[in-house]
Protein backbone atom coordinates (compact mmCIF):
# COMPACT_ATOMS: atom_id res chain seq x y z
CA UNK A 1 0.00 0.00 0.00
CA UNK A 2 2.83 2.36 0.92
CA UNK A 3 4.49 1.80 -2.44
CA UNK A 4 1.23 2.49 -4.28
CA UNK A 5 1.04 5.86 -2.53
CA UNK A 6 4.68 6.53 -3.36
CA UNK A 7 3.99 6.10 -7.07
CA UNK A 8 0.76 8.10 -6.80
CA UNK A 9 2.70 10.85 -4.99
CA UNK A 10 5.18 11.10 -7.84
CA UNK A 11 2.44 11.14 -10.46
CA UNK A 12 0.66 13.89 -8.53
CA UNK A 13 3.81 15.97 -8.34
CA UNK A 14 4.02 15.77 -12.12
CA UNK A 15 0.31 16.65 -12.57
CA UNK A 16 0.68 19.51 -10.11
CA UNK A 17 3.61 21.00 -11.95
CA UNK A 18 1.69 20.60 -15.20
CA UNK A 19 -1.38 22.30 -13.77
CA UNK A 20 0.60 25.13 -12.20
CA UNK A 21 2.12 25.93 -15.56
CA UNK A 22 -0.40 27.79 -17.71
CA UNK A 23 1.35 26.75 -20.92
CA UNK A 24 1.48 23.04 -20.10
CA UNK A 25 -2.20 22.48 -19.34
CA UNK A 26 -2.97 24.84 -16.48
CA UNK A 27 -4.80 27.24 -18.77
CA UNK A 28 -7.13 24.60 -20.23
CA UNK A 29 -7.89 23.32 -16.73
CA UNK A 30 -8.67 26.89 -15.64
CA UNK A 31 -10.99 27.47 -18.62
CA UNK A 32 -12.75 24.16 -17.97
CA UNK A 33 -13.17 25.03 -14.29
CA UNK A 34 -14.62 28.40 -15.26
CA UNK A 35 -17.13 26.90 -17.70
CA UNK A 36 -18.12 23.84 -15.67
CA UNK A 37 -17.82 25.35 -12.24
CA UNK A 38 -19.18 28.87 -12.81
CA UNK A 39 -20.78 29.60 -16.20
CA UNK A 40 -22.91 26.42 -16.51
CA UNK A 41 -24.19 26.44 -12.90
CA UNK A 42 -25.06 30.16 -13.05
CA UNK A 43 -26.95 29.68 -16.35
CA UNK A 44 -28.83 26.53 -15.29
CA UNK A 45 -29.55 27.64 -11.72
CA UNK A 46 -30.96 25.17 -9.15
CA UNK A 47 -31.58 22.65 -11.95
CA UNK A 48 -27.78 22.26 -12.18
CA UNK A 49 -27.77 20.88 -8.63
CA UNK A 50 -31.05 18.99 -8.55
CA UNK A 51 -31.17 17.37 -12.01
CA UNK A 52 -30.85 13.57 -12.31
CA UNK A 53 -28.38 14.20 -15.11
CA UNK A 54 -25.53 14.88 -12.64
CA UNK A 55 -25.33 11.15 -11.91
CA UNK A 56 -24.01 10.60 -15.43
CA UNK A 57 -22.58 14.05 -16.11
CA UNK A 58 -19.78 14.12 -13.51
CA UNK A 59 -18.58 10.54 -14.02
CA UNK A 60 -18.40 11.28 -17.75
CA UNK A 61 -16.42 14.50 -17.21
CA UNK A 62 -14.08 12.88 -14.69
CA UNK A 63 -13.42 9.99 -17.06
CA UNK A 64 -12.72 12.48 -19.85
CA UNK A 65 -10.18 14.26 -17.63
CA UNK A 66 -8.54 10.95 -16.77
CA UNK A 67 -8.38 10.04 -20.45
CA UNK A 68 -6.48 13.25 -21.17
CA UNK A 69 -3.46 12.11 -19.16
CA UNK A 70 -3.53 8.35 -18.64
CA UNK A 71 -2.16 7.43 -22.07
CA UNK A 72 1.08 9.10 -20.93
CA UNK A 73 1.40 6.89 -17.84
CA UNK A 74 3.75 4.16 -19.11
CA UNK A 75 4.38 5.26 -22.70
CA UNK A 76 5.50 8.67 -21.38
CA UNK A 77 7.96 7.04 -18.98
CA UNK A 78 9.28 4.99 -21.87
CA UNK A 79 9.53 7.99 -24.18
CA UNK A 80 11.31 10.11 -21.55
CA UNK A 81 13.67 7.22 -20.63
CA UNK A 82 12.55 7.02 -17.00
CA UNK A 83 10.86 3.62 -17.25
CA UNK A 84 13.93 1.42 -16.94
CA UNK A 85 15.14 3.25 -13.84
CA UNK A 86 11.68 2.89 -12.32
CA UNK A 87 11.67 -0.83 -13.12
CA UNK A 88 15.14 -1.20 -11.61
CA UNK A 89 13.88 0.16 -8.30
CA UNK A 90 12.47 -1.94 -5.48
CA UNK A 91 8.88 -1.01 -6.40
CA UNK A 92 6.75 -4.01 -7.32
CA UNK A 93 4.88 -4.36 -10.62
CA UNK A 94 1.51 -3.92 -8.93
CA UNK A 95 2.66 -0.86 -6.94
CA UNK A 96 3.82 0.87 -10.13
CA UNK A 97 0.69 0.03 -12.08
CA UNK A 98 -1.89 0.60 -9.36
CA UNK A 99 -0.09 3.75 -8.16
CA UNK A 100 -0.49 5.24 -11.62
CA UNK A 101 -4.15 4.26 -11.73
CA UNK A 102 -4.82 5.65 -8.24
CA UNK A 103 -3.19 8.97 -9.18
CA UNK A 104 -5.33 9.26 -12.31
CA UNK A 105 -8.54 8.35 -10.45
CA UNK A 106 -7.78 10.93 -7.76
CA UNK A 107 -7.17 13.49 -10.50
CA UNK A 108 -10.54 12.77 -12.13
CA UNK A 109 -12.34 12.67 -8.80
CA UNK A 110 -10.62 15.83 -7.58
CA UNK A 111 -11.58 17.65 -10.78
CA UNK A 112 -15.23 16.58 -10.48
CA UNK A 113 -15.56 17.33 -6.75
CA UNK A 114 -13.81 20.69 -7.04
CA UNK A 115 -16.09 21.76 -9.88
CA UNK A 116 -19.19 20.47 -8.09
CA UNK A 117 -18.31 22.53 -5.02
CA UNK A 118 -17.41 25.65 -7.02
CA UNK A 119 -20.67 25.23 -8.96
CA UNK A 120 -22.63 24.81 -5.76
CA UNK A 121 -21.27 28.09 -4.44
CA UNK A 122 -21.91 29.80 -7.81
CA UNK A 123 -25.53 28.60 -7.92
CA UNK A 124 -26.20 29.69 -4.35
CA UNK A 125 -24.67 33.11 -4.95
CA UNK A 126 -26.39 33.71 -8.31
CA UNK A 127 -29.77 32.23 -7.36
CA UNK A 128 -30.16 33.13 -3.72
CA UNK A 129 -33.16 31.40 -2.14
CA UNK A 130 -34.46 31.22 1.40
CA UNK A 131 -32.78 27.85 1.97
CA UNK A 132 -29.39 26.83 0.56
CA UNK A 133 -29.56 24.84 -2.68
CA UNK A 134 -27.81 21.49 -2.06
CA UNK A 135 -27.27 18.14 -3.76
CA UNK A 136 -29.52 15.33 -2.51
CA UNK A 137 -27.41 13.16 -0.19
CA UNK A 138 -28.11 9.85 -1.96
CA UNK A 139 -27.62 11.29 -5.43
CA UNK A 140 -24.38 12.94 -4.34
CA UNK A 141 -23.01 9.67 -2.96
CA UNK A 142 -24.04 7.73 -6.09
CA UNK A 143 -22.46 10.43 -8.27
CA UNK A 144 -19.19 10.19 -6.36
CA UNK A 145 -19.16 6.37 -6.50
CA UNK A 146 -19.85 6.39 -10.24
CA UNK A 147 -17.24 9.10 -10.76
CA UNK A 148 -14.63 6.92 -9.03
CA UNK A 149 -15.63 3.83 -11.00
CA UNK A 150 -15.77 5.60 -14.38
CA UNK A 151 -12.34 7.12 -13.68
CA UNK A 152 -11.05 3.71 -12.59
CA UNK A 153 -12.26 2.03 -15.75
CA UNK A 154 -10.84 4.79 -17.94
CA UNK A 155 -7.50 4.66 -16.07
CA UNK A 156 -7.40 0.86 -16.38
CA UNK A 157 -8.00 0.97 -20.13
CA UNK A 158 -5.46 3.78 -20.52
CA UNK A 159 -2.71 1.98 -18.60
CA UNK A 160 -3.44 -1.27 -20.45
CA UNK A 161 -2.93 0.48 -23.78
CA UNK A 162 -0.03 2.61 -22.57
CA UNK A 163 1.92 -0.49 -21.47
CA UNK A 164 2.59 -1.58 -25.02
CA UNK A 165 2.69 1.74 -26.86
CA UNK A 166 6.19 2.86 -27.73
CA UNK A 167 5.29 6.56 -27.75
CA UNK A 168 2.72 8.76 -26.04
CA UNK A 169 1.29 9.68 -29.43
CA UNK A 170 0.77 6.03 -30.32
CA UNK A 171 -0.87 5.41 -26.94
CA UNK A 172 -3.20 8.39 -27.39
CA UNK A 173 -4.24 7.21 -30.85
CA UNK A 174 -4.96 3.66 -29.69
CA UNK A 175 -6.75 4.99 -26.61
CA UNK A 176 -8.90 7.32 -28.73
CA UNK A 177 -9.97 4.42 -30.94
CA UNK A 178 -10.75 2.27 -27.89
CA UNK A 179 -12.93 5.01 -26.38
CA UNK A 180 -14.83 5.52 -29.63
CA UNK A 181 -15.47 1.77 -29.89
CA UNK A 182 -16.54 1.56 -26.24
CA UNK A 183 -18.91 4.54 -26.37
CA UNK A 184 -20.23 4.31 -29.89
CA UNK A 185 -20.35 0.50 -30.05
CA UNK A 186 -23.29 0.02 -27.66
CA UNK A 187 -25.18 2.94 -29.26
CA UNK A 188 -24.70 1.56 -32.76
CA UNK A 189 -25.66 -1.92 -31.58
CA UNK A 190 -28.80 -0.53 -29.96
CA UNK A 191 -29.71 1.36 -33.14
CA UNK A 192 -29.21 -1.78 -35.19
CA UNK A 193 -32.03 -3.47 -33.26
CA UNK A 194 -35.55 -3.60 -34.66
CA UNK A 195 -37.76 -0.67 -33.65
CA UNK A 196 -39.99 -2.91 -31.50
CA UNK A 197 -37.00 -4.43 -29.72
CA UNK A 198 -35.55 -1.01 -29.00
CA UNK A 199 -38.88 0.14 -27.61
CA UNK A 200 -39.12 -2.97 -25.44
CA UNK A 201 -35.58 -2.45 -24.08
CA UNK A 202 -36.26 1.24 -23.39
CA UNK A 203 -39.48 0.43 -21.58
CA UNK A 204 -37.76 -2.25 -19.53
CA UNK A 205 -35.03 0.17 -18.54
CA UNK A 206 -37.59 2.80 -17.58
CA UNK A 207 -39.44 0.22 -15.50
CA UNK A 208 -36.29 -0.63 -13.57
CA UNK A 209 -36.30 2.70 -11.79
CA UNK A 210 -33.49 5.13 -10.98
CA UNK A 211 -32.03 3.24 -8.04
CA UNK A 212 -31.80 -0.09 -9.87
CA UNK A 213 -30.21 1.48 -12.94
CA UNK A 214 -27.64 3.15 -10.70
CA UNK A 215 -26.96 -0.16 -8.94
CA UNK A 216 -26.49 -1.91 -12.28
CA UNK A 217 -24.18 0.89 -13.44
CA UNK A 218 -22.10 0.54 -10.25
CA UNK A 219 -21.94 -3.24 -10.65
CA UNK A 220 -21.14 -3.10 -14.35
CA UNK A 221 -18.39 -0.52 -13.97
CA UNK A 222 -16.89 -2.45 -11.04
CA UNK A 223 -16.76 -5.71 -12.99
CA UNK A 224 -15.33 -4.03 -16.09
CA UNK A 225 -12.71 -2.16 -14.02
CA UNK A 226 -11.60 -5.36 -12.27
CA UNK A 227 -11.28 -7.16 -15.61
CA UNK A 228 -9.35 -4.34 -17.28
CA UNK A 229 -6.98 -3.76 -14.34
CA UNK A 230 -6.45 -7.51 -14.00
CA UNK A 231 -5.56 -7.67 -17.69
CA UNK A 232 -3.16 -4.72 -17.29
CA UNK A 233 -1.46 -6.43 -14.33
CA UNK A 234 -1.09 -9.59 -16.39
CA UNK A 235 0.36 -7.55 -19.23
CA UNK A 236 2.90 -5.85 -16.96
CA UNK A 237 6.01 -7.95 -17.63
CA UNK A 238 9.10 -6.22 -16.25
CA UNK A 239 11.53 -8.05 -18.52
CA UNK A 240 9.50 -7.24 -21.61
CA UNK A 241 8.99 -3.60 -20.61
CA UNK A 242 12.74 -3.16 -20.14
CA UNK A 243 13.41 -4.48 -23.62
CA UNK A 244 10.55 -2.57 -25.31
Amino acid sequence: MRDIWTVAWKEWREFRDQLLSLRRGGLSALILALILGVVAPVQLGPEWVQSKIIVGYWPFLAATMVSSLIADSVAGERERHTLETLLASRLSDSAILIGKIVAAVLYGLGFAVANMLIGLVAVNVAHRESAPILFGAQRFVVTIVLTILASLLMAGIGVFISLRASTVKQAQQAFGIAIIVLTMGPLLAFNALEYETRTRVALRLAALGETRIEAYAVGGLTVLSVIVIGAALARFKRGKLVLD
Binding site: T82, T85, A88, S89, V242, L243
Partner: protein, 329 residues
Amino acid sequence: MAGVNDFAIRADGITRDFGPVRALDSLSLQVPKGIVFGFLGPNGAGKTTAIRVLLGLIDPSAGRAEVLGLDTRVHGAVIRARCGALLEHPGLYERLSASDNLEFYGRAWHVPRRVMQERIRELLTRFGLWDRRDDPVGRWSRGMKQKLAVARAVLHRPDLVFLDEPTSGLDPVATAGLREDLAALAAQEGVTVFLTTHNLNEAERLCAQVGVIRGGRLLAVGSPQELRERQDSGRVDIAARGLTSEVVSLLHARPEVESVVAKDGRLTLGLANGASVAPIVALLVHHAVEIEEVRRARATLEDAFLDLMGAEPGGSGLGGARGAGGGAP
Protein backbone atom coordinates in the same frame (compact mmCIF):
# COMPACT_ATOMS: atom_id res chain seq x y z
CA MET B 1 41.20 -17.65 -0.22
CA ALA B 2 37.96 -15.79 -0.92
CA GLY B 3 34.74 -17.36 0.36
CA VAL B 4 31.37 -17.42 -1.35
CA ASN B 5 30.19 -14.49 0.76
CA ASP B 6 33.13 -12.30 -0.24
CA PHE B 7 31.68 -11.72 -3.68
CA ALA B 8 29.07 -9.14 -4.54
CA ILE B 9 28.55 -10.73 -7.95
CA ARG B 10 29.09 -14.29 -9.15
CA ALA B 11 28.10 -15.07 -12.69
CA ASP B 12 28.47 -18.62 -13.89
CA GLY B 13 28.26 -19.12 -17.64
CA ILE B 14 25.42 -16.72 -18.27
CA THR B 15 24.18 -16.57 -21.81
CA ARG B 16 21.42 -14.33 -23.09
CA ASP B 17 19.95 -14.58 -26.56
CA PHE B 18 17.62 -12.12 -28.24
CA GLY B 19 16.28 -14.17 -31.10
CA PRO B 20 19.25 -15.01 -33.28
CA VAL B 21 21.51 -12.49 -31.54
CA ARG B 22 23.65 -13.69 -28.63
CA ALA B 23 24.18 -10.68 -26.38
CA LEU B 24 25.95 -12.60 -23.59
CA ASP B 25 27.97 -15.70 -24.27
CA SER B 26 28.86 -17.93 -21.29
CA LEU B 27 29.90 -15.00 -19.14
CA SER B 28 31.55 -16.06 -15.90
CA LEU B 29 32.64 -13.39 -13.49
CA GLN B 30 33.32 -12.81 -9.82
CA VAL B 31 33.32 -9.32 -8.33
CA PRO B 32 34.63 -9.02 -4.76
CA LYS B 33 32.68 -6.89 -2.31
CA GLY B 34 33.74 -3.30 -1.64
CA ILE B 35 35.64 -2.60 -4.84
CA VAL B 36 35.02 -0.52 -7.94
CA PHE B 37 34.81 -3.00 -10.80
CA GLY B 38 35.04 -1.70 -14.35
CA PHE B 39 33.29 -3.57 -17.11
CA LEU B 40 34.94 -2.49 -20.33
CA GLY B 41 33.82 -3.06 -23.84
CA PRO B 42 32.90 -1.37 -27.07
CA ASN B 43 29.32 -0.38 -27.90
CA GLY B 44 27.10 -3.42 -28.23
CA ALA B 45 29.51 -5.65 -26.28
CA GLY B 46 26.80 -6.82 -23.88
CA LYS B 47 27.53 -4.55 -20.90
CA THR B 48 23.97 -3.25 -20.52
CA THR B 49 22.50 -6.72 -20.98
CA ALA B 50 24.80 -7.99 -18.24
CA ILE B 51 23.52 -5.29 -15.86
CA ARG B 52 19.92 -6.12 -16.72
CA VAL B 53 20.52 -9.79 -15.98
CA LEU B 54 22.34 -9.02 -12.75
CA LEU B 55 19.50 -6.77 -11.58
CA GLY B 56 17.01 -9.55 -12.29
CA LEU B 57 15.25 -7.43 -14.88
CA ILE B 58 15.69 -10.11 -17.52
CA ASP B 59 16.49 -13.79 -17.11
CA PRO B 60 19.54 -15.36 -18.70
CA SER B 61 18.84 -17.90 -21.44
CA ALA B 62 21.38 -20.20 -19.77
CA GLY B 63 23.69 -20.16 -16.77
CA ARG B 64 23.08 -18.52 -13.44
CA ALA B 65 24.15 -15.44 -11.56
CA GLU B 66 24.16 -14.50 -7.92
CA VAL B 67 24.13 -10.92 -6.73
CA LEU B 68 24.76 -10.36 -3.02
CA GLY B 69 24.35 -14.11 -2.63
CA LEU B 70 20.89 -14.12 -4.24
CA ASP B 71 19.90 -15.91 -7.44
CA THR B 72 18.87 -13.31 -10.02
CA ARG B 73 16.17 -15.57 -11.49
CA VAL B 74 14.43 -16.07 -8.17
CA HIS B 75 15.23 -13.02 -6.05
CA GLY B 76 15.18 -10.15 -8.55
CA ALA B 77 12.98 -8.00 -6.31
CA VAL B 78 15.25 -8.47 -3.26
CA ILE B 79 18.34 -7.77 -5.36
CA ARG B 80 16.82 -4.54 -6.67
CA ALA B 81 15.90 -3.56 -3.12
CA ARG B 82 19.56 -3.86 -2.09
CA CYS B 83 21.11 -2.27 -5.18
CA GLY B 84 21.17 1.13 -6.78
CA ALA B 85 21.40 1.77 -10.49
CA LEU B 86 22.21 4.43 -13.00
CA LEU B 87 21.31 2.83 -16.27
CA GLU B 88 21.78 3.86 -19.87
CA HIS B 89 19.85 7.11 -19.33
CA PRO B 90 19.80 9.28 -16.19
CA GLY B 91 16.11 8.36 -15.80
CA LEU B 92 15.19 11.61 -14.07
CA TYR B 93 11.74 13.18 -14.05
CA GLU B 94 12.50 16.42 -15.81
CA ARG B 95 9.36 18.24 -14.68
CA LEU B 96 10.23 17.54 -11.05
CA SER B 97 12.87 19.29 -8.98
CA ALA B 98 16.07 17.56 -7.88
CA SER B 99 14.68 17.24 -4.35
CA ASP B 100 11.45 15.66 -5.61
CA ASN B 101 13.37 13.22 -7.82
CA LEU B 102 15.43 12.08 -4.85
CA GLU B 103 12.48 12.08 -2.48
CA PHE B 104 10.50 9.82 -4.81
CA TYR B 105 13.23 7.20 -4.87
CA GLY B 106 13.89 7.69 -1.16
CA ARG B 107 10.23 6.89 -0.52
CA ALA B 108 10.41 3.96 -2.93
CA TRP B 109 13.27 2.52 -0.87
CA HIS B 110 11.48 3.22 2.42
CA VAL B 111 14.18 5.56 3.68
CA PRO B 112 12.83 7.16 6.89
CA ARG B 113 11.76 10.75 6.22
CA ARG B 114 14.27 12.51 8.47
CA VAL B 115 17.17 10.32 7.33
CA MET B 116 16.12 10.93 3.74
CA GLN B 117 16.10 14.71 4.10
CA GLU B 118 19.58 14.65 5.64
CA ARG B 119 20.84 12.30 2.97
CA ILE B 120 19.41 14.45 0.16
CA ARG B 121 21.14 17.51 1.61
CA GLU B 122 24.41 15.59 2.04
CA LEU B 123 24.46 14.22 -1.51
CA LEU B 124 23.31 17.38 -3.25
CA THR B 125 25.90 19.37 -1.30
CA ARG B 126 28.65 16.86 -2.14
CA PHE B 127 27.81 17.06 -5.84
CA GLY B 128 27.48 20.86 -5.77
CA LEU B 129 23.78 20.79 -6.62
CA TRP B 130 22.22 21.98 -3.37
CA ASP B 131 21.61 25.55 -4.51
CA ARG B 132 19.65 24.30 -7.52
CA ARG B 133 17.62 21.71 -5.62
CA ASP B 134 14.24 23.31 -6.33
CA ASP B 135 14.77 23.81 -10.08
CA PRO B 136 13.04 21.46 -12.49
CA VAL B 137 15.72 19.01 -13.59
CA GLY B 138 14.80 19.59 -17.24
CA ARG B 139 16.60 22.95 -17.04
CA TRP B 140 19.89 21.39 -15.92
CA SER B 141 23.00 20.59 -17.93
CA ARG B 142 23.77 16.99 -18.81
CA GLY B 143 26.63 16.84 -16.31
CA MET B 144 24.38 18.01 -13.48
CA LYS B 145 21.78 15.44 -14.42
CA GLN B 146 24.37 12.66 -14.40
CA LYS B 147 25.52 13.73 -10.94
CA LEU B 148 21.94 13.78 -9.71
CA ALA B 149 21.37 10.32 -11.17
CA VAL B 150 24.44 9.04 -9.31
CA ALA B 151 23.12 10.64 -6.12
CA ARG B 152 19.80 8.89 -6.67
CA ALA B 153 21.56 5.54 -7.17
CA VAL B 154 23.32 5.74 -3.79
CA LEU B 155 20.60 7.62 -1.85
CA HIS B 156 19.43 4.55 0.08
CA ARG B 157 22.99 3.39 0.84
CA PRO B 158 22.83 0.25 -1.30
CA ASP B 159 25.29 -2.61 -0.95
CA LEU B 160 25.98 -2.59 -4.67
CA VAL B 161 25.62 0.12 -7.31
CA PHE B 162 25.45 -0.42 -11.06
CA LEU B 163 26.60 2.56 -13.07
CA ASP B 164 26.15 2.18 -16.81
CA GLU B 165 28.55 4.61 -18.50
CA PRO B 166 28.09 7.36 -15.92
CA THR B 167 30.35 9.83 -17.71
CA SER B 168 29.03 9.15 -21.19
CA GLY B 169 28.42 12.33 -23.16
CA LEU B 170 30.05 14.62 -20.60
CA ASP B 171 32.73 17.15 -21.42
CA PRO B 172 36.24 16.47 -20.02
CA VAL B 173 35.81 18.85 -17.07
CA ALA B 174 32.47 17.36 -16.06
CA THR B 175 33.89 13.86 -16.57
CA ALA B 176 36.84 14.57 -14.28
CA GLY B 177 34.53 16.09 -11.66
CA LEU B 178 32.14 13.17 -11.69
CA ARG B 179 35.03 10.70 -11.61
CA GLU B 180 36.43 12.34 -8.49
CA ASP B 181 32.99 12.31 -6.90
CA LEU B 182 32.57 8.62 -7.69
CA ALA B 183 35.96 7.74 -6.27
CA ALA B 184 35.23 9.64 -3.08
CA LEU B 185 31.81 8.10 -2.79
CA ALA B 186 33.08 4.56 -3.22
CA ALA B 187 35.85 5.13 -0.70
CA GLN B 188 33.67 6.80 1.92
CA GLU B 189 30.59 4.62 1.67
CA GLY B 190 32.29 1.26 1.20
CA VAL B 191 29.86 0.37 -1.53
CA THR B 192 30.64 -2.10 -4.32
CA VAL B 193 30.49 -0.30 -7.64
CA PHE B 194 29.94 -2.13 -10.91
CA LEU B 195 30.82 0.39 -13.56
CA THR B 196 30.52 -0.06 -17.29
CA THR B 197 32.49 2.27 -19.47
CA HIS B 198 34.42 2.55 -22.66
CA ASN B 199 36.47 5.35 -21.17
CA LEU B 200 39.70 3.49 -20.37
CA ASN B 201 41.31 6.40 -18.63
CA GLU B 202 38.37 6.49 -16.26
CA ALA B 203 38.58 2.75 -15.63
CA GLU B 204 42.32 2.93 -14.98
CA ARG B 205 41.90 5.69 -12.42
CA LEU B 206 38.81 4.38 -10.67
CA CYS B 207 38.75 0.62 -10.79
CA ALA B 208 40.46 -1.94 -8.60
CA GLN B 209 39.53 -4.63 -11.13
CA VAL B 210 38.36 -4.59 -14.69
CA GLY B 211 36.77 -7.09 -17.02
CA VAL B 212 36.93 -6.75 -20.78
CA ILE B 213 33.93 -7.94 -22.75
CA ARG B 214 33.30 -8.14 -26.44
CA GLY B 215 30.58 -9.88 -28.41
CA GLY B 216 29.10 -10.98 -25.09
CA ARG B 217 32.26 -12.85 -24.12
CA LEU B 218 34.59 -11.98 -21.28
CA LEU B 219 38.06 -11.68 -22.78
CA ALA B 220 40.09 -10.79 -19.71
CA VAL B 221 39.70 -9.89 -16.06
CA GLY B 222 42.13 -8.53 -13.50
CA SER B 223 43.47 -5.33 -12.04
CA PRO B 224 44.33 -2.58 -14.55
CA GLN B 225 47.98 -3.17 -13.63
CA GLU B 226 47.75 -6.89 -14.39
CA LEU B 227 46.18 -6.18 -17.76
CA ARG B 228 48.88 -3.62 -18.53
CA GLU B 229 51.64 -5.99 -17.49
CA ARG B 230 50.39 -8.65 -19.87
CA GLN B 231 50.84 -6.10 -22.59
CA ASP B 232 54.10 -4.72 -21.21
CA SER B 233 56.02 -7.96 -21.12
CA GLY B 234 57.13 -8.09 -24.72
CA ARG B 235 57.51 -4.53 -25.95
CA VAL B 236 60.89 -2.78 -26.09
CA ASP B 237 61.64 0.65 -27.56
CA ILE B 238 65.20 1.35 -28.67
CA ALA B 239 66.51 4.71 -29.85
CA ALA B 240 69.61 4.15 -31.97
CA ARG B 241 71.77 5.40 -34.81
CA GLY B 242 73.21 3.32 -37.58
CA LEU B 243 70.30 0.94 -38.06
CA THR B 244 70.58 -0.85 -41.36
CA SER B 245 68.25 -3.19 -43.19
CA GLU B 246 70.74 -5.95 -42.54
CA VAL B 247 70.44 -5.42 -38.76
CA VAL B 248 66.66 -5.38 -39.00
CA SER B 249 66.78 -8.66 -40.94
CA LEU B 250 69.02 -10.17 -38.27
CA LEU B 251 66.55 -9.10 -35.59
CA HIS B 252 63.69 -10.66 -37.54
CA ALA B 253 65.62 -13.90 -37.71
CA ARG B 254 65.98 -14.23 -33.94
CA PRO B 255 63.52 -16.70 -32.39
CA GLU B 256 62.62 -14.49 -29.40
CA VAL B 257 61.72 -11.51 -31.61
CA GLU B 258 58.08 -11.57 -32.67
CA SER B 259 57.89 -8.20 -34.40
CA VAL B 260 60.22 -5.45 -35.51
CA VAL B 261 59.27 -1.92 -36.47
CA ALA B 262 62.12 0.43 -37.44
CA LYS B 263 61.23 4.05 -38.06
CA ASP B 264 63.07 7.36 -37.74
CA GLY B 265 65.95 5.92 -35.76
CA ARG B 266 63.65 4.05 -33.38
CA LEU B 267 63.16 0.34 -33.06
CA THR B 268 60.07 -1.12 -31.54
CA LEU B 269 60.47 -4.79 -30.84
CA GLY B 270 57.93 -7.32 -29.74
CA LEU B 271 59.68 -9.98 -27.71
CA ALA B 272 58.36 -13.38 -26.74
CA ASN B 273 57.15 -13.77 -23.14
CA GLY B 274 60.07 -13.78 -20.70
CA ALA B 275 62.68 -13.00 -23.35
CA SER B 276 65.60 -10.87 -22.23
CA VAL B 277 66.55 -7.69 -24.08
CA ALA B 278 70.29 -8.04 -23.31
CA PRO B 279 71.19 -10.37 -26.27
CA ILE B 280 69.38 -7.98 -28.59
CA VAL B 281 71.43 -5.05 -27.31
CA ALA B 282 74.62 -7.11 -27.70
CA LEU B 283 73.70 -7.92 -31.30
CA LEU B 284 73.08 -4.26 -32.09
CA VAL B 285 76.37 -3.18 -30.51
CA HIS B 286 78.18 -5.92 -32.39
CA HIS B 287 76.85 -4.48 -35.66
CA ALA B 288 78.05 -0.96 -34.80
CA VAL B 289 74.63 0.41 -33.95
CA GLU B 290 74.95 3.34 -31.52
CA ILE B 291 72.36 2.87 -28.84
CA GLU B 292 71.05 5.99 -27.09
CA GLU B 293 68.18 4.53 -25.09
CA VAL B 294 66.63 1.16 -24.35
CA ARG B 295 63.23 1.18 -22.71
CA ARG B 296 60.77 -1.52 -21.77
CA ALA B 297 57.49 0.01 -22.97
CA ARG B 298 54.87 0.77 -20.32
CA ALA B 299 51.57 -0.19 -21.85
CA THR B 300 48.44 1.69 -20.89
CA LEU B 301 45.14 0.02 -20.20
CA GLU B 302 44.11 1.28 -23.60
CA ASP B 303 46.97 -0.66 -25.22
CA ALA B 304 45.87 -3.78 -23.37
CA PHE B 305 42.26 -3.18 -24.32
CA LEU B 306 43.02 -2.60 -27.98
CA ASP B 307 45.23 -5.67 -27.99
CA LEU B 308 42.36 -7.74 -26.60
CA MET B 309 39.97 -6.30 -29.15
CA GLY B 310 42.39 -7.10 -31.93
CA ALA B 311 43.09 -10.58 -30.61
CA GLU B 312 39.58 -11.74 -31.37
CA PRO B 313 38.15 -12.18 -34.85
CA GLY B 314 36.23 -9.11 -35.89
CA GLY B 315 37.81 -6.96 -33.20
CA SER B 316 38.00 -3.36 -34.28
CA GLY B 317 38.60 -1.54 -31.06
CA LEU B 318 36.55 1.04 -29.25
CA GLY B 319 33.12 1.80 -30.47
CA GLY B 320 33.30 -0.47 -33.45
CA ALA B 321 33.37 -4.08 -32.42
CA ARG B 322 30.18 -6.03 -32.46
CA GLY B 323 31.36 -9.55 -32.98
CA ALA B 324 28.84 -12.25 -32.23
CA GLY B 325 26.83 -10.10 -29.87
CA GLY B 326 24.55 -7.30 -30.75
CA GLY B 327 24.33 -5.81 -27.31
CA ALA B 328 21.07 -4.90 -25.67
CA PRO B 329 18.18 -4.36 -28.04
